[in-house]
Symmetry: C2
Subunit: 202 residues, 2 copies
């Protein structure tokens, strides 16, 4: 593939991810991706024989890889809470830089039932699962028992995604800031009581 | 307004909410709402002079009121953790009953930038804010210091919304179950150490 063709392919995937972030999956049409990326119409089915579904699927995979890379780098650096902080900071910057217009492309795909392309939900699920597993490893390294690390990882990933959505609605980073402020406390509170099972209701 | 007209109005708002849950905001067109609700085309601008944006706005408000009513009832009943459990259980049932097709209509609106109807994001923000405030009251009643109650409320509401999204992608209630399993532990862990500020990094 010539460099130019390869460029137009990459531009289309990046364009699809950008549109997903801002307008959601239904609004991410092939026409809109072409307009956004400046790629020639003829290139769509050349680069993406599976059409729009393949293009969106690749945008999901690309966005997934980016965050996974961030978490993997943190695992190697060995500072679990710094990794979570970096994750929160990344979202904070993305929200502010986009004027609160851009959220998570994986969420965009997951919140729309797509009967024609059910594989998109599976791709989104794979990205979420990889994030949860990486974060669980970080929590366990930080001293949490394995089961608790797994549960807290689900909770934190879900809370980050939910907080990003609330930030967009609020046009403010306050929900993400609140979530970031408490996560350290949660990790420490749970780590420091390894003997403690689920508490009784009062 | 005759009962029949009023019925068709309510059916359209409910239909819009159902479509938002399943297909997102962009896909919730007036045509689709009419097809879903069986309402006559002529009734749209009669009932909703503001057109599609008004219809979606009312669907957001209706969905918001429903959850708010659930939380308010729990506040009156005085069992904070039972209230959160009911909230998790509600989502679990909705997901299972819909075959994991239906999520939160407030999220559906919040994840799509809508330049023509920016009031929709504000309506979504108002619903989220009311939920966070009601939940913070419950946590404080359960013994959490006020600031901690406020932060945990943001975290829990965000986590529920995020977990619902992950459940749809996974076609499984596992993420919501994990989040529900740990929330009691978080509330107790944070309540039992009112003297403890934010922990130092290890």
């Amino acid at each position: 593939m010539s460099p130019r063709k390869s460029d137009s392919r990459a531009r289309m995937v990046l364009g699809a991810a950008a549109l997903l972030r801002e307008y959601g999956a239904s609004a991410t049409s092939v026409d809109r991706v072409l307009a956004h990326s400046g790629a020639p119409r003829g290139s769509v089915y050349h680069h993406f024989p599976g059409g729009r579904a393949q293009l969106i699927d690749e945008a999901v995979a690309l966005a997934g890889e980016f965050i996974a890379g961030l978490i993997d780098a943190a695992v190697r650096a060995g500072d679990p809470l710094a990794a979570i902080d970096a994750f929160f900071a990344l979202w904070r910057h993305r929200l502010v830089d986009s004027g609160f217009r851009a959220g998570c492309p994986i969420v965009a795909v997951a919140v729309e039932t797509n009967d024609e392309a059910p594989q998109l939900a599976r791709s989104a699920a794979a990205v979420f699962a990889r994030r949860r597993e990486a974060l669980a490893v970080l929590f366990v390294r930080h001293g949490l028992p394995e089961e608790r690390g797994r549960l807290l990882a689900v909770f934190v990933i879900a809370a980050v995604e939910g907080a990003v959505i609330m930030c967009r609605a609020d046009r403010s980073t306050a929900p993400l800031d609140a979530a970031a402020e408490i996560h350290d406390l949660l990790v420490h509170a749970l780590r420091d009581r390894p003997d403690r099972g689920h508490a009784q209701r009062s």
